[in-house]
Symmetry: C2
Subunit: 187 residues, 2 copies
Amino acid sequence: MNSPINYCPQCSEPVRQAIPAGDDRLRHVCDACGAIHYQNPKVIAGCIPVFGEQVLLCRRAIEPRLGLWTLPAGFMELGETLAEAARREAWEEAQVEVDLGPLFTLFSLPHISQVYAFFHGRMAEPRFAAGEESLDVRLFHEHEIPWEELAFETVRRTLQLYFSERRAGICGIHVEDLAPDRHGPIG
Amino acid sequence: MNSPINYCPQCSEPVRQAIPAGDDRLRHVCDACGAIHYQNPKVIAGCIPVFGEQVLLCRRAIEPRLGLWTLPAGFMELGETLAEAARREAWEEAQVEVDLGPLFTLFSLPHISQVYAFFHGRMAEPRFAAGEESLDVRLFHEHEIPWEELAFETVRRTLQLYFSERRAGICGIHVEDLAPDRHGPIG
């Protein structure tokens, strides 16, 4: 998740772990130049691309969870909004232009220090293709969803809430905390 | 926002900016050990601590915006949920125990690569005190809010939405993108 900090990225001297003055947590501090190197949770943004009654899923061509199915989502980049990140990931992973709707789910995954945000998404046409990080991209009716082959708990939970609300004719925003899933420590 | 990366935090050799294979953005890459050092947006979590009709604000004892008023909020730490971060910040900045309610606002601030999340918060008692990062902490009725002395646009917008919904007797979640405010580039 976070690469190791052995040396100061500012001046190259070795760093040590210490609690800086006025702080209450261990940080990577550099005695040579005084820099403190903070590490913080990362944000993943994605969407539920919907065409008619069907939902678009991507089969992962990369680790973790290579070969399993996911909603298009990925790390938010510097300078982006959540919606821009979600739209970009849909394009990169599924070559699909999504008309982004409201936020649907927002998850905290403290065990891996990630925050996930999924938006509703509408596809005007069934136009898509596997991007570099996908082996396959397909539209699924609800009864076709490969529940046992979903890559992440965030995706399983988002799809479960999506279909349940669609059947009930309601539309909410869900803010939840998720624990590690049955595949192990990755959300 | 993000400290400079001149040297590889993994092996201490100088890094250079390059677009890694399969990527489309400049990253800090280390030719010596092969590490790629990504930088990503940071998450700030906070809340609107409410006691009866009043809202608790903190006067900042630190830069940026020293001396201006804010809702308690701060950088989410590794291993936390959004709600835990919001609760911790209320305790650190205002020594207040907040009964956290639902998410209220979620902002993207692409100009400073930050995502802000504010939750509703209820105070069972009017017990609070200035934490290390606050000069003063006070309860404000709506007509007392120091609108011209608020530290951040995220705070101004959250309070504006909060009072407007309270008057209307409604309660929503607001997902918005914010541009730089009149104080300059910090959100």
